[in-house]
């Protein structure tokens, strides 16, 4: 067995059934091995698309996503996807071909120092330097990608090692370490919780990554503690949970941001005090003691000094620290704020109001639908106005904010969950960044529904230009966009354009009930902005709620 077949065999042993990639010179032996079958490969039309499809696959399933590229430009095209996976802690394995070992360092054709490039955008990376290393490295790569705080791992494999004889490797069976919680910390956390008058849960993406959603929901049910969540944690709490106020931060709900500023105990669960959450850090949750629960010790005290921290598995911690509370006035206050500051959808005139459209879609799709969002205003509207009840059903580039993410992520999600509806919500700017992935949708005949919200602008940048750059719209006007419906039709994807509210119901009927892929192109006004907005550098209770 050569090294390439060894890799495919190892993937099978790791229960990898699907990979995403793009062939090229230095990875040809691996593609030759894939040709024999056993692991399905989906050809994406750009390596960045392959990386993001792997992310979508991983996020929709909780399993490892795998992407493959050749050396040089193939590998560099993966980099943005790997950075995206790093910022959102997604378990992705990237396998890249490399020039033969004896040519490394000679500036050979399509040679680039991929290991060097990977240092800042992966959890770990490997350059395989001998056939003997191949087995242990693949084993370690999966271990690193999936344990602790998950993340992307790159394996760079020179061509001579792919074509050369492989060396058998026996996987060591390691006994699982039993975690024991610190009883003193548990007791202290319980005391802090039961003594608090205004406790608040700040829920982050770590809850979903730890597969601790049931434990979190039990904790919330048992304690009655109100909660807010980050962009990545949408779905961890049921959207209609009594004291859940939705997303917090720059475009968070008013109730969430005010609750943060008022609480006297903040329990951060798998969250990392990102600047888009905290606003002005010094004035974030100014009255609160902080309990920080996170598997990554490097997050503790990184941005916010905490009173108590635990870096154990959330599945163990959350049940252990659950305790009685006596917080009826605080719960009532939260409820009052939820009612007072609830989203409003009244919108005069005929032009389509994207938040209301997204809400209407959310109310009319099966609960197991996966929403993949691109990046920009539409992403925030999705977060604010659509609702999902599982974190696997809301896939959004949260940490890196990668435009072009939505469509390839939807490709990965649809391949992973063929029986569920997958909707990619894109903006006209983001859509064009990975538009070539329509070719992947066509190739695999994926029934991805694309909701393209088009204001002929780079809307989020324009919004900031309007608010903070005196309305100087530098390079954000996209009135020269292509005809998107015609563009989709070139990939055999049917579609239609709607521009007024009266067209919505019939169009949604066709969109949601189409058998295959469908593009619903929604034209909206460029004057619509995302509210509320915490201006950069301001504390979270100083939200702007309109242009005035």
């Amino acid at each position: 067995m050569n090294g390439a077949h060894f890799v495919v065999q190892a993937l099978k042993e790791k229960n990898v059934t699907q990979v995403f990639g793009y062939p090229g010179g230095a990875i040809m032996p691996l593609y030759d091995a894939l040709y024999d079958g056993g692991v399905d490969h989906l050809l994406c039309r750009h390596e960045q698309g392959a990386a993001m499809a792997a992310i979508g696959y991983a996020r929709a399933t909780g399993n490892v996503g795998v992407c493959i590229a050749t050396s040089g430009p193939g590998a560099t095209n993966l980099i943005t996807g790997l950075a995206d996976a790093l910022l959102d802690s997604i378990p992705v394995i990237a396998i890249t071909g490399q020039v033969p070992t004896h040519l490394i360092g000679t500036d050979a054709f399509q040679e680039v120092d991929v290991l060097g490039l990977s240092l800042a955008c992966t959890k770990h990376s490997f350059l395989v330097q001998s056939a003997e290393q191949l087995g242990p490295i693949i084993e370690q790569a999966f271990e690193v990608a999936t344990t602790g705080r998950p993340g992307p791992v790159l394996i760079d494999i020179p061509k001579d090692i792919q074509v050369g004889q492989s060396v058998a490797y026996q996987v060591a069976q390691l006994a699982a370490k039993q975690q024991i919680l610190d009883a003193q910390l548990v007791e202290q956390a319980q005391q802090m919780i039961s003594n608090a008058d205004k406790p608040l849960l700040y829920i982050g993406g770590g809850v979903g990554m730890a597969k601790a959603v049931p434990e979190l929901r039990d904790f919330v049910k048992n304690t009655g503690i109100p909660s807010v969540c980050t962009l990545k944690a949408i779905g961890c709490i049921e959207h209609d949970s009594p004291y859940f106020m939705g997303m917090v931060g720059m475009h968070g709900s008013k109730a969430s941001n005010l609750a943060i500023q008022e609480c006297d105990l903040l329990i951060a669960v798998g969250a990392r005090f990102d600047d888009r959450v905290t606003g002005k850090l010094d004035e974030f949750a100014p009255h609160a003691k902080v309990i920080h629960l996170d598997i990554d010790a490097a997050e503790i005290n990184k941005l916010r000094a905490v009173t108590l921290s635990m870096t154990d598995d959330l599945k163990l911690v959350l049940p252990a620290i659950s305790t009685n509370t006596d917080i009826a006035p605080w719960q009532q206050h939260v409820n009052d704020m939820k009612i007072e500051f609830a989203n409003r959808y009244d919108h005069p005139g005929e032009p389509i109001f994207a938040p209301a459209l997204l809400r209407q879609i959310a109310e009319n799709i099966p609960s197991d639908t996966v929403i993949c969002s691109d990046v920009g205003q539409h992403q925030m509207w999705v977060a604010q106005h659509m609702f999902v009840d599982r974190p696997e059903n809301h896939i959004s580039s949260s940490g890196l904010g990668t435009m072009g993410f939505g469509v390839p992520a939807a490709v990965g999600a649809q391949v992973a969950r063929p029986d569920n509806m997958v909707i990619a919500v894109a903006g006209d700017g983001s859509f064009m960044m990975n538009v070539q992935e329509l070719g992947t949708i066509k190739r695999k005949k994926l029934p991805v529904k694309i909701l393209l919200i088009d204001n002929q602008r780079l809307g989020m940048v324009r919004q900031w230009q309007k608010l903070f750059f005196k309305g100087r719209y530098s390079e954000t006007i996209l009135t020269d966009n292509p005809d998107f419906v015609t563009l989709a039709s070139a990939f055999d994807i049917p579609g239609e354009t709607i521009v007024v509210k009266s067209q919505i119901n019939a169009a949604l009927d066709r969109f949601l009930n189409s058998e295959g892929a469908y593009l619903l192109h929604v034209s909206i006004s460029e004057e619509e902005n995302v509210w509320p907005l915490v201006p950069p550098g301001a504390p979270n209770d100083q939200m702007m709620e309109s242009v005035e």
């Binding site: 240092l119 800042a120 010790a297 490097a298």
Partner: protein, 84 residues
């Protein structure tokens, strides 16, 4: 603030590069350093004298996450003869 950290790690060609990248990215300057491979265990011993206004624990916790780290010890700055 000046601090010295000694990192013991499994040897790999790029380990030093990983450590230095983390130092720079996290806002810590390396004032002086030494690095040597210890035979026959093939471990690497790196001593870094670090300058930063930031709490040194912010760096050591990040370095601890680098795959291959065996041990990190923190001490006051040491005299380092230029090697590596």
């Amino acid at each position: 603030m000046n601090n010295s950290i000694v990192i013991k790690a499994s040897n790999s060609p790029e380990f030093l590069e990983r450590v230095l990248r983390v130092c720079r990215h996290r806002g810590f300057s390396v004032d002086s350093m030494s690095s040597q491979t210890e035979q026959p265990q093939q471990t690497l011993s790196i001593t870094l004298n670090i300058v930063s206004e930031r709490d040194i624990s912010l760096l050591t916790k990040q370095i601890e996450k680098i795959i291959g780290v065996i041990e990190i010890t923190l001490s006051k700055p040491q005299e380092i003869k230029a090697t590596a």
